[in-house]
């Protein structure tokens, strides 16, 4: 099983690999959530939902359900 954004710990970085196009809103892509871009986990609310990220220099929050759809490759 590969990692998703939902698996990242606070402060951890990863590279976006791929995602299910049907499950991820276009708006997220427009904000820079694209394969190849770097994502850093900033903070998470209780129950790890929602999750606060820095994707490609943009700071944004998404829900856990969406984060689980985005596959990443952890750094280091």
């Amino acid at each position: 099983m590969s990692d998703t954004i939902a698996h990242l710990k606070r402060g951890e970085q990863a590279t976006i690999v791929s995602f299910n196009e049907e499950q991820v809103p276009l708006k997220l892509l427009e904000m820079g959530c694209l394969p190849g871009n770097i994502v850093k986990m900033m903070e998470s609310a209780p129950f790890q939902d929602p999750i606060y990220l820095n994707i490609n220099g943009t700071f944004l929050a998404i829900r856990r359900e969406t984060a689980q759809q985005i596959k990443v490759k952890r750094h280091g």
Partner: protein, 703 residues
């Protein structure tokens, strides 16, 4: 007169677009609505030079031209409709230096519409601190556009921008990204069919409804949607939009590696440190709770002083009109109908202004997004979104701006539920009703430490409002057959010190539009009420004076008592009296008489009318609380005897006002925001039924 050109300000949210708009136009601006929808339209005039003026339109913030909300749809509509009077001669795309990459996505889309475009890079004052440098000349050449560095906050570069705008004739209008590479064949046939149109415009028209389709439009290209080019399935179109976004980012990444240089060796910044505390799993919630407490304290404590002045002022104005204008029905209309009616609106200005002030500060500073983040998980359980917190909090002032504040909730189901439950929160219009009834039926008794019964009752009513909102959201979430997508994307903006000018203008504009909007309705209602209460037919009404004089002939009544008796006789037999008698059977089981019935019916227009109506009905000329209160205390239940306003009927009234949907303006806004009469109708019926049965149960149990 000089020439005037249309300039549209377009940009992502949080780029300082509105600050720039305020810099360009100063107070020379007006806020209205786009025809038929409730999206705010901000326009202003900016003098560029002696012979040229710019008519500047501040379009709602948007991340791209692929619309997914009503606000974004307005932007696209403006840019696609060449016949619109707002169609820009120049598009000024506002970006912020720290988010240039994401901001440029929107820029490339607008550029591809072949509109003359200027790129503004705002917040240039942060460049040095963040160790960022940009090669402007190279960027201008690569993008085929004018690029201007600006700091709206520090007022740097605004004159350069004005110069660039007045030089609009030399702006390029060629596209910069070739979007057709995502499906060359498809776009080639499209181009052949509509050779005169920009290819990207055609594409936008075709895909406009894929993510959001709820708006009526009339445009020259409407036939395109039913044509053979719309044959692609929605999911195909969505895939193409994804591809388009990827292509655009490839272009932008290529560009930025050439022109942008960021030194990343910066230490932990303010954002990280503040977020550690404000989003903390314990402190975060505690801080939010304290901030809420402070806001409520301000709204309900600080605003009492200006409210008292306003109250006194209108009472004086009313009696002045009565004594110094020539006697007659017209004077009565002014002194008893219009002035109290106006007072009823103006008295809410301090509370509304305070509320808008705090909300503006919370939003400007970037804190509001953190609250949304903290609350999303809890709210989701009830079918709401973290973004519902903002409407629920602002609903304590007024449901109207609260319903409008639901617009940025992406998920339709979550948004609809928020709109439907927001009117349960205790808005400021319920306060006068609560205050007078609590004063009448709840004993003024210390119960615990500094708390007394009356204060606790008021607090319970607030909690009841929130509770009812949350509980009905939970029910609606189960009942409504709408599929939830649970999409939630929110930018976490940088923390900023709120700018006085921006906050001031927001408070001024919002308060003004509230007063004018709600004002019209309250005015109309008070005039109608006055007409119905002061006119009637039949002997009992027209000969009221004789009848009363005859009835009390032997008794020793003072002049004042006699006048009051005559007034109530007239009222009882006026049109409103007959209406009241007609509805009495319906309200008697709740413990009310016909007069309360009338007050309730008239407050279906707006709740705050309740006290005013009772004031008129109990034949008290002024709005002075003490007098009405004593009158109400003296009222006797016509059937059971004993005081009419007792514990049982008082609690019943409080519950009725807590639950009932008594606000025409809110219903009108809900209709506009949901685009159908169905939802306001359901909302009105459900809330009124709940209110009736809650009041009924309370009275029957307590009596």
């Amino acid at each position: 007169m000089g020439k005037s050109i249309n300039v549209s300000l377009i940009g992502n949210p949080n780029t300082g677009k509105t600050s720039l708009f305020n810099r360009l136009t100063g107070l020379n601006q007006k806020v209205g609505n786009y025809p038929g929808i409730t999206v705010e339209k901000k326009e202003g005039i900016c003098k560029l030079d002696r012979s040229l003026k710019a008519h500047i339109l501040d379009l709602p913030g948007t991340y791209s031209l692929n619309t997914s909300s009503l606000d974004e749809s307005v932007v696209v509509e403006t840019l696609l409709n060449k016949n619109s009077k707002d169609y820009p001669d120049v598009a000024v795309v506002v970006s912020d230096i720290e988010n240039l990459k994401r901001n440029l996505l929107l820029f490339t889309q607008i550029k591809d519409l072949e509109i003359p475009t200027i790129l503004v890079i705002n917040m240039a004052d942060r460049m040095q601190r963040k160790a960022i440098s940009v090669d402007i000349d190279l960027m201008e050449r690569e993008l085929n556009t004018r690029v201007v560095l600006v700091s709206a906050r520090k007022n740097i570069g605004v004159d350069d921008l004005k110069k660039a705008i007045s030089d609009y004739k030399n702006l390029q209008s060629v596209p910069c990204v070739n979007a057709s590479s995502i499906d060359p064949e498809y776009f080639a046939t499209l181009k052949k069919a509509y050779p005169k149109q920009s290819i990207y415009k055609l594409w936008l028209v075709i895909t406009q409804d894929v993510n959001f389709g709820k708006i009526d439009r009339n445009r020259d290209l409407e036939d395109l949607k039913s044509s053979s080019f719309a044959v692609k399935s929605e999911s195909d179109l969505k895939k193409m939009q994804h591809k388009e976004t990827v292509v655009r980012y490839q272009f932008i990444n290529g560009l930025l590696t050439k022109v942008l240089n960021v030194d990343k060796s910066q230490a932990k910044d303010l954002r990280t440190r503040l977020d550690r505390v404000l989003l903390h799993k314990v402190w975060g919630y505690l801080i939010f709770f304290v901030i809420l407490l402070l806001i409520f304290q301000a709204i309900y404590d600080w605003s009492t002083y200006p409210m008292d002045w306003i109250d006194t002022f209108f009472a004086k104005a009313s009696s002045w009109a009565q004594t110094s204008l020539p006697e007659g029905p017209f004077t009565d209309l002014i002194s008893e109908g219009i002035i109290p009616g106006l007072g009823g609106i103006v008295i809410f200005i301090p509370q509304i202004a305070f509320l808008f002030l705090f909300i503006a500060i919370l939003e400007e500073s970037g804190y509001m997004s953190r609250v949304v983040f903290l609350m999303d998980h809890i709210m989701k359980k009830f079918g709401l979104s973290g973004k519902s917190v903002v409407p629920l909090v602002s609903g304590t002032a007024c449901a109207i701006p609260a319903v409008m504040a639901t617009r940025n909730i992406e998920d339709w189901k979550e948004r609809l539920i928020t709109i439907l439950v927001v009117p349960f929160t205790t808005c400021s219009a319920r306060l006068p009703v609560y205050l007078i009834i609590i004063a009448l039926v709840i004993p003024e008794q210390e119960v615990w430490w500094i708390f007394n019964m009356q204060g606790l009752t008021l607090m319970l009513l607030y909690m009841l409002g929130f509770g009812a909102a949350i509980f009905s959201a939970w029910v609606l979430n189960r009942v409504l057959p709408i599929k939830r997508k649970a999409f939630f994307v929110m930018e976490m903006p940088a923390y900023k010190l709120p700018m006085l000018k921006n906050v001031g203008i927001t408070v001024l504009e919002k308060t003004k539009s509230f007063v004018l909007g709600a004002g019209k309705i309250i005015m109309a209602i008070s005039v109608i009420l006055w007409l119905l209460a002061s006119h009637g037919i039949g002997e009992q009404f027209t000969n009221a004076e004789e009848i009363i004089k005859e009835q009390y002939a032997g008794k020793d009544l003072s002049e004042e008592e006699l006048t009051n008796k005559i007034a109530s006789q007239q009222l009882e037999h006026s049109f409103i009296g007959y209406i009241g008698k007609g509805i009495e059977p319906a309200v008697r089981p709740l413990g009310y008489d016909w007069k309360i019935g009338i007050a309730i019916v008239s407050s279906f227009a707006a709740r705050e009318v309740f006290v005013g109506t009772l004031a008129t009905i109990y034949s008290v000329g002024s709005d002075e609380e003490e007098t009405i209160k004593n009158r109400m205390k003296a009222e006797v239940n016509p059937i059971l005897g004993g005081p009419l306003f007792n514990f049982a009927s008082g609690i019943s009234l409080l519950l009725f006002y807590a639950f009932a949907m008594q606000c025409m303006s809110t219903l009108a806004i809900v209709k506009r925001e949901t685009n159908s009469w169905k939802w306001p109708a359901i909302q009105f019926t459900a809330m009124t039924v709940i209110a009736y049965f809650a009041a009924l149960a309370a009275y029957q149990i307590l009596k």
